[in-house]
Symmetry: C2
Subunit: 421 residues, 2 copies
Amino acid sequence: MMGESKNWILMATARAPTNIAVIKYWGKRDEALILPINDSISVTLDPDHLSATTTVAVSPSFEKDRMWLNGKEVSLSGGRYQNCLRELRNRAGEYTDENKGIHIEKYDWNTLHVHIASYNNFPTAAGLASSAAGFACLVFSLAKLMNVKEDLSQLSTIARQGSGSACRSLYGGFVKWTMGNEMSGSDSIAVQLANETHWDDLVIIVAVVSSRQKETSSTSGMRESVETSSLIQHRAKVVVPSRILQMEQAIRNKDFSSFARLTCADSNQFHAVCLDTSPPILYMNDTSHRIISIVERWNRHEGTPTVAYTFDAGPNAVIVAPNQKVAMDLLQRLLFYFPPARDNELSSYVLGDKKILHEFGLESLSSIEGLQPPPEAKDKGLAQRYGGDVSYFICTRPGKGPAILVGEDQALISIQTGLPK
Amino acid sequence: MMGESKNWILMATARAPTNIAVIKYWGKRDEALILPINDSISVTLDPDHLSATTTVAVSPSFEKDRMWLNGKEVSLSGGRYQNCLRELRNRAGEYTDENKGIHIEKYDWNTLHVHIASYNNFPTAAGLASSAAGFACLVFSLAKLMNVKEDLSQLSTIARQGSGSACRSLYGGFVKWTMGNEMSGSDSIAVQLANETHWDDLVIIVAVVSSRQKETSSTSGMRESVETSSLIQHRAKVVVPSRILQMEQAIRNKDFSSFARLTCADSNQFHAVCLDTSPPILYMNDTSHRIISIVERWNRHEGTPTVAYTFDAGPNAVIVAPNQKVAMDLLQRLLFYFPPARDNELSSYVLGDKKILHEFGLESLSSIEGLQPPPEAKDKGLAQRYGGDVSYFICTRPGKGPAILVGEDQALISIQTGLPK
């Protein structure tokens, strides 16, 4: 069939971003194919700060498909992994490397086993759409390895079957997941609305909120919403279609005021539908509520939307500022209201793009302690601080889509052993 | 015109209950007349534990209309008080007391001034529908004083103009506020579905939740919801009409399971609409969420609704148990999860009908400390306790409607001075 020996290993490594929905996906019309009940729109986050890196390897010496996530072996038996692997093997192309004496026919991919090693550059458990980055990266790297000749939108239908929102992580910038109409899901694909250079003033700050409560998984949560909420269908059929059009226009025109209004309203409506579910799904906590109140009070003081907040299936806030200047005003507010716990250092409290912090002149914990309340909080008893309620912040911006990483030093799997380095 | 002298004082004293909506009123179609966008259904709470007592007095010697609430003079200039006073004066009847030499013609009421003293037997600021009890009591006592010959449903249209939910406090037991169709509001009235003896097993526990956050008033909150929520009209026009029919049937059949399911779902949907408002209205806090989770976990363990929770425009929970036995199971859970703060005594932590507490054998704080976690929390890390998060509990039950209190010792105004005692 293939090479002369069974000792060769073929590898590919890719990095894929996570994304944050600004018009939310919540509810499936097909559980197995992961077909949604409405379109959604997301912003891809800079992979330098939030991304998955995945190396996939294939070798005739591998005895079964195996996967390691953040260094720990995990099961590939789940239907979602199996669906992605099957779809990619079906589309795999032939591959020849005459130097190494490797020749793989299309049908060989069905019997060749893969090793997958994946790593997130942010905490997996923090509720930051790690599955979106992970499945996008898995599909992107396997497509490279298996010489799949499909465009990104076709790959997005495969990533979608791993995790719905993963399809949106195949592009940088601003991405729409079109729900589609086909039973097969062939038209339920991601399309890029604009790349990451289109609106490059935006700055994004993620507040990772301390939480000890176990959360409802989004898979079971959205199933229960579809089954029990009496508002979700009205949202999906009437509200979202109009918001999608408005959001596309806001992004096209870089109209931050509309972008912020729609983003906040849609986050709140998604959580409203969760609350309208039986039993109710409660993702936001008091800290999430305080972040909303801080932004809304700031908006009222300014008379216009200042920043846009959005919350996924957990208490963490993702806040979008229109530019670096407002981002600094935002960070000042966030650090005033949510100073780090005492045993925390600033360098482990504000992560990601530290340029904001340096420009702002905040270099130490003591400078946070001395922060003054923002103007809108003065004389109103609204200057209470909540030390320790946020675990850390990540500063980032809209970023690019998945990319292949070249060079053996970038790989997570050893070319000698075929196992994680 | 009237008596021989100007020194007589005529008084009436009444007590009126508060009520808790189980199908919620949220949103007006007419702000001035207080006409709602949907029907609502409530349970009247026992006035022994939660009620307003109001004495109204009239005398030719009074120089202006005046009111005292909980001993402190308050302004009557607000449109809502003025509307109630005007409507009652328009319907006043003639009154004669030959012994005292008093004769009041219908038209005299327009020139006679009233003194009003009102007192709540529960904390006004606790967010326990004090305005519902207060306006019901004001209208009921003034109707008695002014010899208004209208039935309760007619009086309910007047109370409604003071505070929407006040119209439901004119009856005991289970009450529906029919939204009506007339522009004048003449058919937007309360009707009794069943009196308090119909389903007298029910026990109600109110958890007054500690909160330092200022809340959005329900008046401005529902205005903003009507103006900005894209879900509220679907709720009002499609969801609520069907729930009203189901709730009427559940009450008629004393079907606790349906009652609980509808009550919880409608409370959650009301808060969902609040969250869908721009800016979002956040009435529930982490403690409210924990109470919901405790009940839902208990339900899952039992496989059927155990108790019904509902939250009005604030973080307090009102929880309905089907009978005394379940109420004791509920109180055990509540006291386990929410023990009193250290400086609290049991007698000031569980108020209202203490029979439950005595039957349960909980006589001291130390017996609360020793409570075991409920079965559904065992071995699941769900047994964390939140001391001090609840201010106090009030045990009560469905109760009767307003009543006139006879005897001068019951009056809040001195027959000598015409001022609060």
